[in-house]
């Protein structure tokens, strides 16, 4: 029995944004890291660490805002470990990133032991007088939680900094050819460490969004692979901020849409609905990036000043 009328477009849109935001935050962070020439496969570990740090602080202080700040700090702190390993000790990026994920999962399970079954303080939705009360436009544009807007603003900021500022140019130079950047006198290691910390903070925010808003609760391993999806998204989006946002919203959107279609009893085989978020996102991004799809030239390569 098909019942499409039971799907409310405004509620669907709100759920879509909630599903997309954690991926968007984590992927934007990883985008900056990779544009600086570093491949950090530890996104999942940094996200889950952010999820528990944010959750614990929000519960203890009663403030979701402090929770999100703690999540960013927690994610950045974990990424500092990766920065030391790869930028100071010159360890392999891939191995260090994988280790970071394992470490993050274990650490978060340890930190989270006293937080199972606790309800976090609610994050208020935006409520702008007049604007939020407008019919249709109000609930669609002006009535989400603040982090949804943070995600969108961050997309714009990342795009602007990377493409329109000197700092962005330096970061990209480091990612494209670290020897040349070094010869020009730029501090390759310093730039990369800062990019890694930014990536960690973004991943932490994304994780906390899941534990504080999307679910909201703490459960061990609750990110369940979102970090890997964010990583893949950066590649399919050809390392561009706008496309990362498109991909995250597409993935989140189709995920939520397919659940709603299932609930409405749409006569499509569930197997296809279930795989649709992956297929549609990949197809769209691959077609869009058909013309030029090149990774930063120094991605994943270890830099040493003597080379």
């Amino acid at each position: 029995m098909m019942d499409l009328g039971s799907i409310s477009p405004t509620l669907l849109l709100a759920s879509l944004m909630v599903a997309a935001t954690p991926i968007l935050l984590a992927a934007l962070g990883e985008l900056v890291v990779e544009r600086a020439g570093v491949l950090n496969l530890g996104v999942e570990g940094m996200m889950i660490t952010g999820a528990i740090c944010g959750f614990a602080i929000a519960v203890n202080t009663g403030s979701p805002t402090l929770g999100f700040i703690a999540a960013a700090l927690g994610g950045a702190a974990l990424s500092l470990l990766f920065a030391i390993l790869t930028q100071v000790a010159l360890a392999n990026h891939v191995a260090s990133g994988l280790a970071l994920t394992l470490f993050g999962l274990g650490l978060s399970a340890l930190l989270g032991q006293g937080y199972v079954g606790i309800k976090p303080p609610a994050t208020d939705k935006l409520d702008i007088p007049v604007l939020s009360d407008l019919p249709v436009v109000g609930p669609v544009l002006f009535a989400h939680d603040p982090m949804v807007y943070v995600g969108l603003a961050l997309t714009l900021a990342v795009w602007f900094v990377l493409n329109r500022t000197r700092a962005g140019l330096i970061l990209r130079a480091v990612g494209e050819n670290h020897d040349a950047a070094h010869a020009l006198g730029y501090k390759v290691v310093r730039v990369r460490v800062m990019a890694i910390l930014f990536g960690g903070a973004c991943a932490g925010l994304g994780g906390a969004y899941i534990s504080l808003i999307r679910v909201p609760q703490w459960t061990e391993g609750m990110t369940a692979g979102v970090g890997w999806i964010a990583l893949a998204l950066v590649v399919f989006a050809s390392w561009r901020a706008g496309r990362v946002m498109l991909g995250a919203y597409l993935f989140g959107g189709v995920t939520v849409l397919q659940l709603n279609l299932q609930a409405a009893g749409v006569a499509l085989p569930v197997e296809y609905l279930s795989m649709s978020p992956y297929i549609i996102t990949i197809l769209v991004l691959v077609i869009m990036s058909a013309e030029r799809n090149r990774a930063p030239a120094s991605l994943g390569r270890t830099f040493h000043a003597s080379n």
Binding site: V116, I210, R214, Q217, G221
Partner: protein, 357 residues
Amino acid sequence: MKFVKHLAGAALALGLATSAMAQDKTKVGFIYVGPVGDGGWTYEHDKGRQAIEEAFGDAVETVYQESVPEGADAERAITQMALQGADLIFTTSFGYMDPTVNVAAKFPDVKFEHATGYKTADNVSTYSARFYEGRAIQGHIAGKMTKTNTIGYIASFPIPEVIRGINSAYIHAKKVNPDVQFKIIWAFTWFDPAKEADAATALIEQGADVILQHTDSTAPQAAAEKAGGVITFGQASDMSEYAPLPRVSSIIDDWGPYYVARTKAVMDGNWSTVQTWDGIGAGMVGIGEITDAVPADVKAEALAMKDAIASGEYHPFSGPLKKQDGSDWLAEGETADDGTLLGMDFYVEGLDGEIPN
């Protein structure tokens, strides 16, 4: 140099000592599909593991590996555990069936126990619980309590165990509320809190005011609590941290006694292949406290049904029942045989939609 020699000697002695001790101990391994802190399925299996340690103390050593994906990687994890010297290995999810049987063929001296599957061998037993008995009670409460006549069901994978649960819940909801409708979402995961919460939210937004789940985390409970005005049931574990609302009752898996008995059998050398399928009567399926959010008369009916199922007086799949396509399944007075239940791949009459392949 001398110091190094001493150190090496000490290490050698220590190594010998531990391996000598290891020979005395019975080593029991567990393969988990989720993390031990999922608050549901894996959490209860791990409580069973702890029961073994409590029962036998120093005579046993238990090891576990969590979040092992179902499929090819499971074979590697099980093999590794067998190589580490485990005497008995419990593989605790349906998707470990073929990997378990494959590894068992290579380690004839190790005993294997696979949960919820149907393939056995000389050194492979199966065990499962009759969760559908608990589903019948949930269906009854759900049918009585829904105001929108819409019950949301978060299913995991289209395997007989899950389909049995849907059918059992539907039959008993329909019996007390002919207008009831089930909306089913297949999540295709056992454990993914974000997706489970999204599924619960989608069902609630489409009018469901009861959420039944066959996934392992407490995320749907949190989503229901956030939405308000929705009731849920604990799955695999009591999930009492969400009582009295939204969680109004639960199905609790109690694996401890079975795990202790099987470990004892290995220690005594009389382990043999069995196919265990116990329910409320044997204590493998528990019904968590029904909270005061449930009206007293509904609670009394639910408890009466529990007693009737436990004593064997009532079978949740009792005729007359038809299949979804309208064909006859069970005649008046007939009850389903275990063979049909174990291989159940059809919906009963009244359910909408198709079961995915």
